[in-house]
C-alpha cells in the first residue's frame, strides 16, 4: 500500500524468542490454570467465567484487556441497556430519523437535503481527576463521534455541574474545566453556543462535565461504522498511540471514587498499573483530523469509519468487525500500530485512549489517494490490518497470535437486570414541601429577588462564556445567554438549527420521572423560544452506582419519563450516553439526566432574542402560574431546602406554547421571548431587562393573587414575551387560537425593574448583583 507508512517495520523485534515470552493464544490454551488479574481490570468472576466459556480456554492478557474495556459499564451499558431499550423511537417518531440509537450519533433529516447529527456525552470522572485535560478531551471525544458519522462538526455546548460555588475544591475544578473546554474548543475552531452551569453540594466529589457536539452533512454523506469487503485495508490514522488513558473507561469511569477522593487517586490495576488513566488532548491534531476526514469523505475514499474514544483500538476494531455481520472478521498486526512509547504491551496498545485517532476501512484501490489526503494534512496513516471473511478478530504481535475472538462477543457485552427499589425515604422527601416562611410584600420580595439573581446558579455566566469562542465559522445567530443556541446552516435559504440542554438534579431527586420530563420540557421550550420547531432529543444520564437499587430505580424512572415524554411530544431520542458510578463513597449525586433538544429554524433572520429590546412593547406572560415551589431555586437559595414535589408537567401545553412561538416568530410578532424556569418570573424579567438594556413596569395581579407566587413559582410551560403595541391584539388572538393563556402584565419602559405596589430596582443595581458573583468567586 504505497504511501501509507508501515510503522516500525524492521524495528519491532520479531520471532520465536519474543513469541515465547508473549501470552499468545497457544500459550493460553496450554496454561489454563494461570492466574489472571480480571478483578483489577473491573471484571466480575461471572464475567471472567463467561469469557473463558466463549473462548473455550482462558483469555490471553491482550484478550482479557480487550474484554475488560468492552464489557466495562462505560462501553457496554450493561446496567442501563435493559432500560434504554424503552427509548427506541416508535411510529411517527422515526419519520425524520436517518440513523438512530446505536450509531456513533443519531442523524436527523432537517430538510433541503441537509442532515444533522448531534450527541451529548459525559467526561465526569477524568474532569475531577485532572480538570483541564479531562474536560478538553471530553470535547475532543464527542467531536470525533460526530465526525465519524460523516458530518462537519459545527458547534459545541457544555453542561457543567460543580460542588458549592464557594467550596475550596470548586476553585480547583471549575477554572480547570472551563480552561480545558476553552483551550480545546477554541483551538478546534468550533463555536461554543451554550450550555449550563450549576452548583450543588452533591457534585462536590463528582462534578458533571457533559459535552455536546452538533454536525451538519448532506444526506448522501452519511457514514457507517462497518467493516466490509474482503481484503479491504484497516487504516489507523491521526495521533500515535501512547500510554495515556490506559483503562480510562474500565477503571476510571466504571467505578466509584474512593471515600477520600480529595487526593484524586483512583484504582487501577493489571497491565495498566503504572499508566495515567486521564488522556491528554491535542486540539491542533484534531483540527487536522477533521479537515482530513472531510476531504476523505468528499473523495469517497472511505468504506467504513470509527472514531477511537473509550477503549481505543480494542473498541474500534471489535465494533467495526462486529458491525460487518457474522461472516466478517479482521486481522490486525499490532506491531504496525505507530507508538509514542515502544515499550507498550499488546494489552496496553488495545486499551490506550490516546486522543485524536480514527480508524477507516479502505479499498486497496483507493489506498493511494487516501494516503495522499492524509499527507496533505500532515496526518500519519498506517495500514494495520485487513478485513477477512472468517468472522474472527485476530491480532498478532511479534510473531504470535495474541487475540482470536468472535468480535460480536466483545462488542455486545453482558446485559444486567440489576435490582431496583424505590428508596423508602422518597415518601418523606415528597411530604416535606417548602413550608418555610415566605417573604412579605415590598422590600422583602425585592431582597429575595436580588438574593436569587446573585446566587451562583442564576448569576451572569460571562466569566465562563467569555472564555469560549462563540462565533467562529460565522454562523452563530444566537448563543449564551440566550435560551437556546441558534446556527445558520444555509446562507442562501436561511435554514438553521437551534439547540438547548437542560437538567435539574433537584427536581429529579424529588421525582426522577417528573424531573426528567421537566428537563425535556425546558430544553424543548428553550429551543422553541428562538422561533425553531423542536425535532429530536439526545441525553446524558448522570447517576450514582448501579449497584445501589435506589439509584437503579432513579435511572429506570428517568428513562421511563424520557420515553413517555418524547412519545407525547412526538420527537425521537436519537442517542445519548450513560454515566454511572457518579458518587463518592456512599454519597451519590442527585440523579441528573441532561436533555438536549435540537430544533429546525426555517428562517434564522426571524430569530427571537430574550432581551427587552423594544421600548413601549407590551409584556405578556404565557402559560399558567400555580403555587409550585418544590425543588425551586427560591427554596434552595433562601433556605437550603429540598423537598416536596416538583412542578406539574403538561407536555400538551408545552406543545401549544412552542407552536404559538414558532408561528408568532415567523409572522414577526415577537420583539422578545424568554422561557420561565429556575427562579420563575422574577429572574426571567431581570434577565430580559439586563439582556435588552431596558427596564419594565409590571403588575402581578393577572399572574397570581400572591405576589410571591407570581414572582418565584416555577410552574412549567410558561414564557414571557414582548409584543409591539400595534401587534398586541393580533398576538392575543393568535395565543387564544393556540389555547395558550396570555396575560398582559406591563410595558418595557425606563431603566428599572418596577413591580407596581411592590418594589423598584434600578438596572444598575440588578447588573451589579448579577454580574458580580462569579468574578468574586473565581477572580
Amino acid at each position: 500500500m504505497d504511501g501509507l507508512s508501515e510503522a516500525r517495520k524492521g524495528i519491532a523485534p520479531r520471532g520465536a524468542l519474543e513469541a515465547r515470552n508473549t501470552d499468545t493464544v497457544e500459550f493460553a490454551a496450554a496454561t489454563p490454570e494461570a492466574e489472571q488479574p480480571f478483578k483489577e481490570l473491573g471484571l466480575t468472576e461471572d464475567e471472567y467465567a463467561k469469557i473463558r466459556q466463549i473462548l473455550g480456554r482462558r483469555p490471553t492478557a491482550a484478550e482479557l484487556a480487550l474484554y475488560s474495556v468492552m464489557w466495562s459499564e462505560h462501553c457496554s451499558y450493561k446496567s442501563s441497556k435493559v432500560h434504554l431499550r424503552n427509548l427506541a423511537p416508535r411510529g411517527a417518531q422515526t419519520d425524520k430519523l436517518l440513523a438512530g440509537i446505536g450509531a456513533n450519533a443519531g442523524v436527523v433529516d432537517i430538510g433541503q437535503g441537509y442532515a444533522v447529527t448531534f450527541k451529548i456525552e459525559s467526561h465526569n470522572h477524568p474532569s475531577f481527576v485532572e480538570p483541564h485535560q479531562g474536560a478538553a478531551t471530553g470535547v475532543g471525544g464527542i467531536v470525533r463521534d460526530i465526525l465519524a458519522m460523516g458530518a462537519r462538526p459545527v458547534a459545541v455546548m457544555d453542561a457543567l455541574r460543580f460542588g458549592p460555588a464557594d467550596a475550596h475544591d470548586t476553585a480547583r475544578v471549575l477554572p480547570g474545566v472551563v480552561s480545558g473546554i476553552s483551550f480545546y474548543g477554541n483551538c478546534l475552531g468550533l463555536p461554543n453556543i451554550g450550555g449550563e452551569l450549576s452548583f450543588d453540594p452533591c457534585y462536590a466529589g463528582n462534578p458533571l462535565v457533559n459535552a455536546l457536539c452538533v454536525g451538519v452533512m448532506r444526506h448522501a454523506d452519511l457514514k457507517a461504522a462497518v467493516a466490509s469487503g474482503l481484503g479491504n485495508k484497516v487504516v489507523l490514522f491521526g495521533s500515535r498511540t501512547g500510554p495515556d488513558g490506559v483503562g480510562g473507561a474500565s477503571v476510571l469511569a466504571s467505578s466509584t471514587f474512593a471515600g477520600d477522593a480529595e487526593d484524586g487517586s483512583v484504582g487501577s490495576g493489571g497491565a495498566a498499573a503504572k499508566r495515567p488513566s486521564v488522556q491528554v488532548g491535542d486540539p491542533f491534531m484534531e483540527k487536522l483530523l477533521i479537515e482530513c476526514c472531510l476531504e476523505l469523505f468528499a473523495g469517497d475514499l472511505v468504506e467504513g469509519i470509527q472514531d477511537l474514544g473509550a477503549a481505543g483500538v480494542a473498541c474500534a476494531t471489535t465494533e467495526l468487525a462486529a458491525g460487518g455481520g457474522a461472516q466478517v472478521g479482521m486481522r490486525v498486526d499490532l506491531d504496525l500500530v505507530p507508538l509514542r512509547d515502544p515499550s507498550l504491551t499488546p494489552a496496553e496498545i488495545l486499551m490506550s485512549e490516546s486522543q485524536e485517532r480514527m480508524m477507516a476501512i479502505v479499498t486497496p484501490g483507493k489506498a493511494g489517494e487516501f494516503a495522499a489526503v492524509c499527507a496533505k494534512w500532515d496526518v500519519e496513516a498506517t495500514v494495520i490490518g485487513e478485513v477477512t471473511g472468517d468472522g474472527v478478530l485476530t491480532m498478532t504481535w511479534r510473531g504470535g497470535t495474541v487475540v482470536s475472538i468472535p468480535p460480536e462477543t466483545a462488542a455486545d457485552g453482558p446485559v444486567y437486570s440489576r435490582p431496583l427499589a424505590r428508596p423508602a425515604a422518597q415518601d418523606e422527601l415528597a411530604a416535606d414541601g417548602p413550608a418555610m416562611p415566605r417573604p412579605g410584600d415590598g422590600a422583602p420580595l425585592r431582597q429575595a429577588l436580588l438574593a436569587l439573581l446573585g446566587s451562583a446558579d442564576l448569576a451572569d455566566k460571562a466569566w465562563v462564556t467569555q472564555q469560549y469562542d462563540a462565533i467562529v465559522r460565522g454562523n452563530t445567530v444566537l448563543a449564551m445567554p440566550e435560551d437556546g443556541g441558534l446556527l445558520r446552516v444555509d446562507e442562501d435559504t436561511h435554514l438553521g438549527i437551534a439547540l438547548a440542554t437542560d437538567g435539574n438534579g433537584r427536581y429529579c431527586r424529588l421525582d426522577p420521572y417528573l424531573g426528567t420530563q421537566l428537563a425535556l420540557a425546558e430544553a424543548y421550550r428553550n429551543v422553541a423560544m428562538t422561533g425553531a420547531r423542536p425535532m429530536a432529543v439526545t441525553n446524558c444520564l448522570n447517576f450514582g452506582s448501579p449497584e445501589d437499587p435506589g439509584v437503579m430505580w432513579q435511572l429506570a424512572e428517568a428513562v421511563r419519563g424520557l420515553a413517555d415524554g418524547c412519545a407525547t411530544l412526538g420527537i425521537p431520542v436519537t442517542g445519548g450516553n450513560v454515566s454511572l458510578y457518579n458518587q463518592t463513597g456512599q454519597m451519590a449525586i442527585h440523579p441528573t439526566p441532561v436533555i438536549g433538544v435540537l430544533g429546525v429554524h426555517d428562517d434564522v433572520r426571524r430569530r427571537v432574542s430574550a432581551g427587552f429590546g423594544a421600548n413601549e412593547a407590551t409584556i405578556i406572560v404565557l402559560g399558567e402560574t400555580r403555587d409550585e415551589l418544590g425543588g425551586s431555586a427560591w427554596a434552595h437559595v433562601a433556605h437550603g431546602h429540598l423537598g416536596g414535589i416538583p412542578p406539574a408537567v403538561d407536555l400538551a401545553a408545552e406543545q401549544r406554547l412552542a407552536g404559538l412561538i414558532a408561528v408568532a416568530a415567523a409572522a414577526g410578532l415577537l420583539a422578545s421571548a424568554h422561557d420561565l424556569s429556575d427562579g420563575g418570573l422574577a429572574i426571567a424579567l431581570a434577565e430580559s431587562c439586563l439582556r435588552g438594556g431596558n427596564g419594565c413596569s409590571i403588575d402581578l395581579d393577572d399572574v397570581s393573587p400572591q405576589a410571591f407566587t407570581a414572582l418565584f413559582s416555577e410552574s412549567a410551560g410558561r414564557a414571557v414575551v414582548t409584543v409591539r403595541p400595534e401587534q398586541a391584539a393580533e398576538f392575543a388572538a393568535l395565543a387564544h387560537s393556540h389555547g395558550v393563556p396570555a396575560a398582559a402584565i406591563g410595558t418595557v419602559t425606563g431603566d428599572s425593574l418596577q413591580v407596581n405596589g411592590q418594589f423598584d430596582i434600578p438596572l444598575d443595581e440588578l447588573a451589579a448583583v448579577w454580574q458580580g458573583t462569579l468574578p468574586a468567586l473565581f477572580g
Binding site: 480552561s179 476553552s182 483551550f183 477554541n186 483551538c187 478546534l188 475552531g189 491535542d282 486540539p283 491542533f284 491534531m285 483540527k287 487536522l288 496533505k376 494534512w377 500532515d378 460571562a462 462564556t465 467569555q466 472564555q467 469560549y468 469562542d469 462563540a470 462565533i471 467562529v472 465559522r473 460565522g474 454562523n475 452563530t476 445567530v477 445558520r488 446562507e491 434564522v604 433572520r605 430569530r607
Partner: protein
Amino acid sequence: MTFPGSLDDQDAARAVRYAGAEPVALWHADRDLRGVDAVILPGGFSYGDYLRCGAIARFSPVMGSLVPAARAGLPVLGICNGFQILCEAHLLPGALTRNAALRFIHRDVRLDVVNAGTAWTSGYAAGQSLTVPLKSGEGAYAASPETLDELERTGRVVVRYAPAAPNGSARDIAGICSAEGNIVGLMPHPEHAIDPLTGPSADGLGFFTSIVSAFAGAGAAR
C-alpha cells in the same frame, strides 16, 4: 490564506464576498500567490500555536513569497493569529503576549479608528467608533517604548481599544500598520462584524470594502 490550524479562513472569505470581491484560497504549502490583489491572514491557531503564536507559520513555504511581495507593496491584512504571524515575520514591529488576566477573552469591544489612511481603513473616518468582537488568549500588544513612540508619532496605530484595552495591550493598541500602510494587523475580528445577524454590527465590513474600492478606483483610473 489557510495554514494548518487556521480557523477563521471561511469567515474572512465570506467578508471578502460581502465586500463584492472574489476570495481566492491560498495554501500554506504552496508558494504561488495566484496573482491575487491582496492577502488576508486569518485568525486561528496555526500549527497549534506551538512554540509561540505564529512562530511556525512564519516559516511556511508561502511566506517565502508573501514577505517580499508585502515589502513590495502587496496589501496584507492580518487578523488575530494573522497579526501574530505578521509580527513573527517582522513585517510589523512588536509582539502579541498573553492577556493580562491570563485567560482567553471573547467579547465585543469598541475600537476607535486612529488612522483612516491605510489600504484597509480608507473607508472609515478618523475617530470613527466601531463595535467588533475580540477573541484571543494572546492578544496583548507589546513593544519597546521607543517602538511605541515611533508608531504613535508616525501615525501607524490604526485602531485603538476604547475606552481601554481589556487584555493589557500597550497604550490600548488594537492594530497597527507598516510604514507604507499596505500591511495592517489587528487582534479584533472585523470579519465577524459584517452582518448584524451573526455579529454585533456591520462595522467591520469597512476593512474589506476599503481594499476593494481601492482596487476599483485604481481600475477606473487605468
